[in-house]
């Protein structure tokens, strides 16, 4: 597939095409979600994209509210003795580049999303997240283009269109037409990728039109639909399930279908299917993460460890600092700080009122409990399946009900065969957890280390996001697959111990539930390394496991 110098099978070309389309389409394509960690490729990409977007305004989640949205500059006002207003960067901006978008707190994300809905603002999200971290869903749902620069070198990027080409394409955009048949095709492609978000379909429509304008076409062509499918729909969708008997019927001239070498039997297939198979080849696996990412952003409150908060929770003593960004001024502490100096300050202004200086300002502090994330790592190996899979599932179900009562969030991962698989990313929706658990198949070796490793990754991610992770490991403990995939019992046990020690140093609470027929000494040792509790299921009913989790979790809070 080639579009005017862009080879859609190459990630570097897709990235540049997406940038050009964003520059042309602006808000009609929603925005651009750029997944790239800092490095030479991103620098090269951004510098060229900036040249095409002269009015790009840079913001970061670390900026405070006043800097972003404007308001009273308290510090400057006090220093000047009169009201000093500050204009926010977001106000009136057309395109905003949000660097470190993955670190955007939910509150800020919600306000930015509102700006998108109300004003002309569209976002270029620069997402540096790793291991499935993502910006809050309300932000990425408002972008229509998704690209990743992972694994690319600066040379892989396609040559950029000139500013003149972009300007010409922009003027052409208004006249670009979209035939009714093509609109239907676009929707069907979306349906093939299980894209249910109407917003994304509207953005994909804009992407196809901008692609046509870039290619100098007066009407959206099939190639433009390919661009929309690859740049908008595919990265957000799920891998299409091709059910031959359920194909919708769309008639297409066969001449256009024979472009690909491998569509020998696909000659009579309808359009949606063809695009789908092409995309499956063209995209790396991680591009399909989108569907799961919705649940990556933590929120809400819960029963996790204590952390300092400026907004809620049990009050702590105030401390000097400047209000703004959610920190509230403590008037009493501020006055108390200013009081001893009034004699000295009074002559300067000559007034009777209290004279405050920026250094007097105090802010309130509170102690809030962060939410707790319970990560279930369930052994689904053959030995476990033979033994007591049903009991293990029962124990997890019981724990889920307990988690519901405590308003915890849960994540579920299973390990069997060669590795671990995250069945359910952190979520508050426990019905989903139960469904995922019910469908959990069993069989294969016991890659205990891989399972622990996946749990550790999730746990540390959650900890970075401010939550308190807690790992529940359910296994019969006969680890026989090492991290490198080899079937070596000694190495497997060693790997598991190492990861357990790492988790312990990060102070992640843990509970090891031994589901074997008889207690496995190796697991007792593992629990020791984890600094957690060991529980053998033979003597434990589900209620006792739940009780142990509660107690173990409470214990780890006190640390």
């Amino acid at each position: 597939m080639t579009i005017k110098g862009f080879d859609l099978d190459r990630a570097g070309h897709r990235a540049v095409l997406a940038g050009a389309i964003y520059a042309i389409g602006g808000k009609s394509v929603g925005g651009l979600w750029l997944r790239a960690r800092p490095g030479p490729v991103r620098d090269a990409y951004m510098s060229r994209l900036r040249a095409l977007l002269p009015d790009l305004v840079d913001v970061t989640p670390a900026m405070d509210d006043t800097a972003l949205f404007g308001g009273l500059d308290v510090t400057a006002s006090l220093a000047a003795g009169k009201k000093v207003l500050q204009k926010g960067r977001v106000a009136g901006a057309q395109t905003l580049a949000l660097a470190g978008a993955d670190r955007t707190p939910p509150a800020l994300a919600a306000r930015l999303a509102l700006c998108h809905d109300r004003e002309a603002a569209s976002y270029l999200l620069i997402d540096e997240g790793q291991d499935g971290e993502a910006p809050p869903a309300c932000l990425w749902a408002r972008t229509g283009l998704t690209i990743g620069l992972e694994g690319l070198r600066p040379n892989d990027l396609a040559p950029w269109p000139t500013a003149k080409t972009i300007a010409r394409a922009r003027t052409r955009l208004a006249e670009t037409t979209f035939s009714a048949g093509k609109e239907t095709d676009l929707v069907e492609i979306g349906a093939a990728f299980s894209v249910s978000d109407a917003r994304l379909c509207v953005f994909a429509h804009g992407v196809a039109r901008a692609a046509a304008a870039l290619g100098g076409r007066a009407e959206v062509s099939e190639r433009d639909l390919d661009s929309a499918a690859l740049l908008s729909l595919a990265p957000r969708g799920l891998l299409p399930q091709i059910e031959p008997e359920k194909q919708p019927e769309v008639e297409k001239p066969p001449a256009e279908l024979s472009q690909k070498a491998d569509t020998g039997e696909g000659r009579s297939e309808e359009l949606s299917d063809r695009v789908v198979s092409a995309v499956t080849v063209a995209l790396p696996e991680e591009a399909f993460l989108g569907g799961d990412l919705a649940h990556a952003a933590p929120s809400g409150s819960g029963a996790g460890a204590k952390r300092r908060s400026s907004q809620r929770g049990r009050p702590l003593p105030s401390r000097p600092g400047r209000p703004g960004s959610g920190r509230r001024l403590d008037p009493v502490a501020t006055l108390r700080a200013a009081a001893p100096w009034q004699r000295l300050r009074a002559p300067s202004l000559g007034g009777q009122s209290v004279t405050l200086r920026p250094s007097d300002l105090s802010v309130k502090r509170h102690e809030a409990r962060s939410e707790r994330l319970v990560i279930f790592a369930v052994d689904a190996s053959g030995s476990q399946a033979m033994a007591r899979m049903a009991e293990a599932k029962g124990a997890v179900e019981f724990l889920l009900a307990e988690a519901y009562r405590r308003r915890d969030r849960v994540a579920l991962l299973a390990f069997r065969g060669e590795g671990a698989e995250i069945l359910l990313p952190p979520t508050g929706a426990l019905v989903r957890a139960r469904k995922a658990l019910a469908n959990l198949p069993g069989g294969g070796g016991t890659p205990l280390a891989a399972g622990l490793d996946a749990a550790a990754t999730l746990a540390l991610q959650a900890a970075r996001g401010g939550a308190t992770p807690f790992v529940v490991l359910l296994t019969d403990g006969r680890a026989n697959v090492a991290l490198d995939g080899s079937h070596d019992r000694a190495a497997a046990a060693q790997d598991a111990d190492n990861i357990a020690k790492r988790l312990a140093t990060e102070r992640v609470g843990a509970l090891v539930v031994d589901t074997g027929r008889r207690p496995e000494p190796q697991l007792g040792r593992l629990a020791g390394h984890l600094g957690g509790t060991y529980l053998a299921l033979p003597q434990a009913d589900a209620a006792r496991v739940a009780d142990a989790v509660s107690r173990a979790a409470d214990l780890s809070h006190k640390l």
Binding site: K27, V74, P106, V187, S196, A429
Partner: protein, 344 residues
């Protein structure tokens, strides 16, 4: 409001009839008590609430009054409203963003005036701005519990009371609460669910034709708003007229004894907790009767509203995945015989 800020017209929203009906009913009788809309991203939840407010006729309010009071004597004392002029304002729709602080919601000490002028003054919050209009919370299921509690208390009492930082302020805060969210990302506590009058579930249209229509209307709107608004203004106008007539007719709608009995027997059969379900169902059915120009509440009205009025009030196992909508349908069938195809 200029043409390019006009929200998407309400009548131009494709499908989503349950959601639209629920919103229209709360516009006819705000006492129904708010709407909870649960569903996937991008199903037009926020579009609908903004569109509804734009559809409703402007309200008359005293110029400069922070709580949109209709008469000068209703203006709160602390606001020190100088003007006596009454102006027309569009029905307020206030967005409550996730992570809003309590200060921002209820209002708090005006730090600016306190520091610069040394005055103790109240800076009204979102609740004041939403008075006589709509308060919209996207992702209500992710909102901090204490904020949700506070909102529901105010929504019920119709008054916001602020007792903090040496301030003692109260002002009217009557608004229709509209919450939306995606249940896959977290659930709302049952006691909060119960406080919403109606609950509807929305999903993306399943057929290609309506999806194409969504895209077409949206792009037409983005391209030339003035023209799109003009095209839909008649449909919006008709709906507005119908809502206004229904508001007037509402007091005249009769509630026959039979309807009361039906209402009670539905709730008994379902075992819904408390009486709030019955009251809401009846209120909503009256609004529906007024909307459709009927003189009395009939079994048909009750039947159509049983799911939105009761589905979120049933006891259920938190891990049970069967929808309560189906349960209500089954009970209704048992009580009143099989559903007529035309009723839904």
């Amino acid at each position: 409001m200029s043409a390019d800020q006009k929200p998407f017209p309400f009548s131009a929203i494709v499908g989503q009839d349950d959601m639209k009906l629920a919103m229209v009913l709360t516009a006819i009788d705000p006492k129904i008590g708010g709407v909870l809309v649960f569903g996937d991203r991008g199903t037009g939840k926020s579009t609908a609430v903004r569109a509804l407010a734009a559809l409703l006729p402007p309200i008359k309010a005293v110029a400069g009054c922070p709580v949109n009071s209709e008469r000068l004597e209703d203006c709160p004392e602390w606001a020190q409203v100088g003007s006596k002029r009454v102006v027309k304002r569009p029905t307020p729709v206030v967005d409550l963003p996730l992570g809003a602080t309590e200060d921002r919601v209820t209002g708090a000490l005006d730090i600016e005036r306190a520091l610069v002028r040394g005055e103790k003054a109240f800076e009204p919050g979102l609740l004041a701005a939403a008075n006589r209009g709509y308060l919209y919370i996207d992702e209500v299921n992710l909102l901090e519990d204490h904020i949700v509690d506070l909102l529901l208390d105010v929504a019920q009492s119709g008054e916001n009371v602020v007792e903090r930082e040496g301030l003692s302020i109260r002002h009217a805060a009557r608004f229709v609460l509209v919450g939306s969210g995606n249940p896959e990302e977290g659930e709302l506590r049952p006691q909060l669910l119960d406080r919403f009058g109606l609950a509807v579930e929305v999903r993306s249209p399943g057929d290609v034709a309506s999806r194409v229509e969504v895209i077409r209307r949206r792009t037409a709107y983005e391209e030339d708003r003035a023209r799109f608004m003009a095209k839909w203004s008649r449909a919006d106008g008709r709906l507005r007229g119908k809502i206004l007539r229904a508001r007037e007719a509402l007091a005249e709608v009769a509630t026959p004894e039979a309807a009361l009995e039906d209402c009670a027997s539905i709730c008994l059969a379902l075992g819904s907790d408390g009486l709030r379900g019955e009251l809401t169902l009846l209120r909503a059915a009256r609004a529906l009767a007024a909307f459709e120009g009927d003189s009395a509440v009939s079994r048909g009205h009750l039947r159509r509203l049983a799911v939105p009025a009761l589905s979120h009030r049933l006891r259920r196992d938190p891990l049970d995945e069967t929808g309560s909508g189906a349960r209500i349908g089954r009970h209704l069938g048992e009580l009143f015989g099989p559903q007529k195809a035309a009723a839904e």
